[in-house]
């Protein structure tokens, strides 16, 4: 069973509908036992890092997330879910996060005022290496982004793909072992996004 973690950070409907489209059974839950028992875990989220971490702490899910990742369960972070698995986010005056990937999350600071924040729309994702999640997906495919902050991993090894916006080339997919995380929304990225989700549902967590 795939579990979608509901930690009250925004709308999970589109993730649920995308899995429904793939005919994959999924359970939306905030229950620790469900998450620990899952075959794979999707960790989505939109909104702000401060509120998300507050909610994860209140639900006692921070350790649950650490545990399920440590035991090798295939784990997919999406958007805010990706940002809060870093150590720290600049958002909300500075927010300590879960710390599964070394590094922090920074705000876009475009020099050109015509470059708008949030980044909203389709942008190119350039793979920096191969990964089972990329099967059947062309390099430099376009995915749908909505965000004002971007992940900055300390180790280049954790960068699986990059994207350029607001004068930076940032890590748009990060990962290690059984964990992968996208800054964009595969569930909103049409056929190509569905393929990435399909690949995740078929992935054994090794790479």
């Amino acid at each position: 069973m795939i579990v979608i973690v509901d930690y009250k950070a925004g709308n999970l409907t589109s993730v649920r509908l995308a899995l429904e489209h793939l005919k994959v059974e999924a359970k939306v839950t905030q229950n620790q036992a469900d998450i620990l028992a899952a075959d794979r875990v999707i960790f989505p989220g939109v909104g702000a890092a401060g509120a998300a971490m507050k909610s994860l702490n209140e639900l006692n899910l921070v350790d649950t997330i650490r545990t399920v990742v440590a035991r090798g369960t295939p784990f997919l972070g999406i958007c805010l879910g990706t940002q809060v698995i870093f150590e720290y986010s600049e958002e909300d005056g500075g927010t300590p996060c879960i710390g599964l990937i070394p590094g922090k999350v920074r705000k876009f600071q475009p020099k050109d005022p015509a470059c708008k924040i949030p980044q909203i729309g389709w942008n190119e994702v350039k793979f920096t290496r191969g990964h089972p999640l990329f099967a059947g997906i062309e390099d430099e495919s376009e995915f749908y982004f909505v965000h004002s902050y971007y992940p900055v991993p300390t180790e280049a090894d954790y960068v699986l793909a990059t994207t350029e916006y607001a004068d930076v080339r940032f890590a748009s997919i990060v990962g290690r072992d059984n964990l992968v995380a996208t800054q964009f929304h595969p569930e909103r990225s049409g056929r190509i996004g569905l393929r990435l989700l399909r690949n995740f549902c078929d992935w054994d967590g090794t790479c």
Binding site: G10, N11, V46, K116, P118, G121, Y144, V146, S189, G190
Partner: protein
């Protein structure tokens, strides 16, 4: 590089997509879900639905339609028309919409923007605005906000309102020119550019698109981040693919594979 978005707009009335000029002489064009699927498969980057009679009829938005669209398409879509409060916003977003658009409600109750942004994140709160050209001295930009489907003048300056809405928390602004709406004679470039230069969030141009050149102009001359199309695609004059091919030739970055 971030792509410029092409967004078909589906005005819905009694479960039918409809199109008129300045909200008049509407003709029905088809089923909203079928049209959404067709545009999505045809390469549009996003969709927007307005329930154009919900407000006037004092009923809430057609949630069943939103749910069906949510099941049918895997690209983002926004929904507006007839949003009355936070609960309506919640219902639309949880039915599967990516964003919710407020217009008259935001002018009459600006706190809905800050409340919605706090509750759901500013990226899902879209401000729709319907400015009209004016000589009213209260509107130094030369554009005045109208509400209630262009019927009500407000004396509010369009640029001032755009800035204030961003301060309150909107994540995107759709600028729909009353003067250009439905004319197919081109977007209101001056207005669009004024708004785009005044705010830090993405601006979506709306009203007046008739040819691919109109989109090229609004992206290159008016700094729009996205453009809404309606009649020109609904009537079959152009496909999304044809529009994108012309934009690509003119050097405008567009999504080419879907």
């Amino acid at each position: 590089m971030l792509r410029k978005r092409i967004i078909p707009c589906l005005d819905v009335r009694n479960r039918k997509v409809t199109k008129g000029i300045r909200f008049q002489n509407n003709v029905d064009l088809g089923d909203p879900v079928e049209m959404a699927v067709a545009y999505s498969e045809g390469g549009c980057d996003e969709l927007v639905f307005y329930d154009i009679t919900a407000s006037a009829e004092g009923r809430r938005i057609d949630l069943d339609m939103v749910k069906e669209v949510g099941r049918a398409v895997r690209i983002p879509f926004a929904v507006g028309g007839g949003i009355r409060n936070l609960q309506d916003m919640y219902d639309v977003l949880w039915a599967g919409a990516e964003k919710v658009s407020v217009n008259t409600l935001a002018v009459e109750h600006p706190e809905i923007i800050s409340d919605g942004a706090r509750q759901f994140g500013r990226q899902c709160i879209v401000l729709g605005m319907d400015p009209v050209r004016t000589d009213d001295p209260r509107c130094p930009s030369g554009y005045e906000i109208t509400t209630r489907g262009f019927r009500q003048r407000t004396g509010i300056d369009a640029i001032e309102w755009a800035k204030r809405a961003v301060d309150l928390g909107v994540g995107e602004i759709v600028v729909n020119s009353v003067d250009a709406d439905g004319t197919r004679e081109g977007y209101e470039l001056v207005l669009t550019r004024l708004v785009a230069e005044a705010v830090s969030v993405p601006v979506v141009a709306s009203g007046g698109a008739g040819t691919p050149q109109h989109l090229i102009d609004v992206f290159q001359k008016a700094l729009a981040d996205a453009a809404i199309v309606a009649s020109m695609v609904h009537m079959g004059h152009y496909t999304i693919q044809q529009i994108k091919e012309e934009l690509d030739k003119a050097g405008v970055p567009v999504r080419k594979k879907w």
